[in-house]
């Protein structure tokens, strides 16, 4: 898949993507990261032929995505971030409908779907109506629908969000297998661990433009002198004042964890711990970690991928 100079701005907000180019090779897993409003969803909409760009081109396997939409759609497996289904049909009926819509033969569709339902541990619920599914089960069904017809290119928007741990592992394992068999995967996700472990290359989108692209290792190596201090607290604390601790660049809460992005300087860990204690925090676990892709994004843009102080 090759996208060249894609621009698509919404008239209402002026947001979208501007002059974005990227190329996915066969067998490559490509991560697309960026905060809300950075243009990830817009880019995915253009790549999946939902909307046409104002300018630029999209090629999938050499086929023009703007002119030969149906042929391109047949080659793409798509999972949107908020999957929807026909709630009054069973999970199997939904998946079968989409599999046949992608042109699969009856017998093959049934066999492939049986294998996928088993792989994602959904067989027991396959004949239940989708309206009885949990959010995670709905995501797994959407993954099954995206994978069933054996696409050449997979476009996945936040695929692991809402999946339980076991399902996340199963999904990541499947993505690696698919990539090994030659499928190109575009993964739009802000799950830093997922992108670092799954993706061969990643790009950051910021305000509709690609601000950096490379392998996760290369991108992370750009960040020097940054450390992450992750403190797990027994009790929630008002952490706003901790941002004033010298050397702390920003704080991101994640569940019971407070993640401090800090300059690498002597005494920084002690200063952070002291600040937490002063705020009434009871630390149950503390770790100092190497920088990750989120730190790279912060370094590049001065903004965080997720909510921050």
């Amino acid at each position: 898949m090759e996208a060249k100079n894609i621009s698509r701005l919404y008239k209402s907000s002026g947001r979208g993507v501007s002059d974005v180019s990227l190329r996915l090779e066969r067998g490559e897993v490509f991560g697309l990261m960026g905060p809300n409003g950075s243009g990830k969803s817009t880019l995915l909409r253009v790549l999946s032929t939902v909307i046409a760009p104002d300018s630029g081109s999209v090629l999938v396997g050499g086929v023009d995505g703007l002119k030969e939409k149906r042929e391109v759609r047949a080659r793409i497996g798509l999972m949107v971030d908020r999957p929807t289904h026909y709630d009054d049909l069973t999970g199997r009926a939904n998946a079968y409908f989409f599999a046949r819509a992608y042109g699969m033969e009856e017998g093959k569709a049934e066999a492939v779907l049986a294998e996928l339902f088993k792989y994602f541990e959904l067989t027991e619920y396959a004949d239940d109506r989708v309206k009885t599914y949990s959010y995670g089960m709905g995501k797994k069904l959407a993954l099954i629908e995206a994978l069933a017809h054996g696409p050449e290119v997979l476009l996945l928007d936040e695929p692991s969000l809402g999946l339980d741990y076991t399902s996340q592992l199963a999904y990541q394992c499947r993505i690696r297998d698919l990539a090994a068999s030659g499928v190109a995967v575009l993964l739009a996700s802000n799950q830093v661990d997922e992108v670092e472990s799954l993706c061969d290359r990643a790009a950051f989108l910021h305000r509709g433009e690609v601000v950096a692209e490379g392998t996760p290792e290369d991108l992370i190596s750009r960040v020097e002198g940054v450390r992450r201090i992750v403190a797990t607290l027994r009790n929630p604390v008002e952490y706003g004042s901790l941002a004033e601790v010298e050397g702390v660049q920003r704080i991101v809460p994640e569940g019971r964890d407070l993640i401090f992005h800090c300059e690498e300087r002597p005494g920084i860990v002690a200063s952070v711990v002291a600040g937490i204690v002063r705020s009434g925090g009871d630390i149950v676990n503390l770790s100092v970690q190497r920088p990750n892709l989120e730190d790279v994004f912060v370094e590049l843009t001065g903004e965080a991928l997720s909510d921050e102080v």
Binding site: T49, I51, E71, V80, A93, R100, A101, R129
Partner: protein
Amino acid sequence: MRFDLPDAYWKKDVALFFSRKFALILKMLYPIAIIVPVAASGMPAKYAAAVIGIVAVMAGTFGAGESLTIDLNDGILVRVALTPLSPYRIVFEILAVNTILDLVQLLPALLIVYLLHPVSIVWVFAATFAVFATLLTANCIGIFIANFTSSPADVLLYATAILFPLIYLSGFFRNQHPTGILQTLRAFVPFSYTDDALKTVFGLSTGTTPLEILIYPTIICAVLAGAVCLTAPRLLSQRL
């Protein structure tokens, strides 16, 4: 033919139609509840015909319009449109299956009408076909409206604006004996033929022949169906 595992859009709609048991009972009962008392009441033929015609118009317009806008809001219709299926085929299947399912809903009530007001078999077929043409036209209107709104409530508003003049022209209530331009326009509204056919069933002669009821609505509906299918790329696109 399997409906538990639908392999086409229309089969999916049939499966959904029969999957909601309570809704299915209501859908099947409400035409009977409205039409049968009217047919049995001895009401003047023109009003009895009008009631059945209006039920058909409403069932068709709101059925297609509302279900489409709900699917558009859910995003599921855009997801279906992103498969390699032809958008024109999808819209054609939406139109065809909704029309036939609407007819399935009305058919028991119509059969009771024919039992209460026996007419020749030719007129039974003509009246049933005319109702089918009305349903098809109404579904075309519902689909057309769904091009401009994704709100089921708006469908009601827009449908009223479109249906009001068509119902007037068709002669359900006024314009019973039109002349001049009104007469010409009436001939282009498929609802008119339903009105004439049902009036005949209820014993009122209108001068419209079964052959006219077969030919003219067929031509008009073919044009309408073709036109509404041409809106497919817009209808199935994501509303931004």
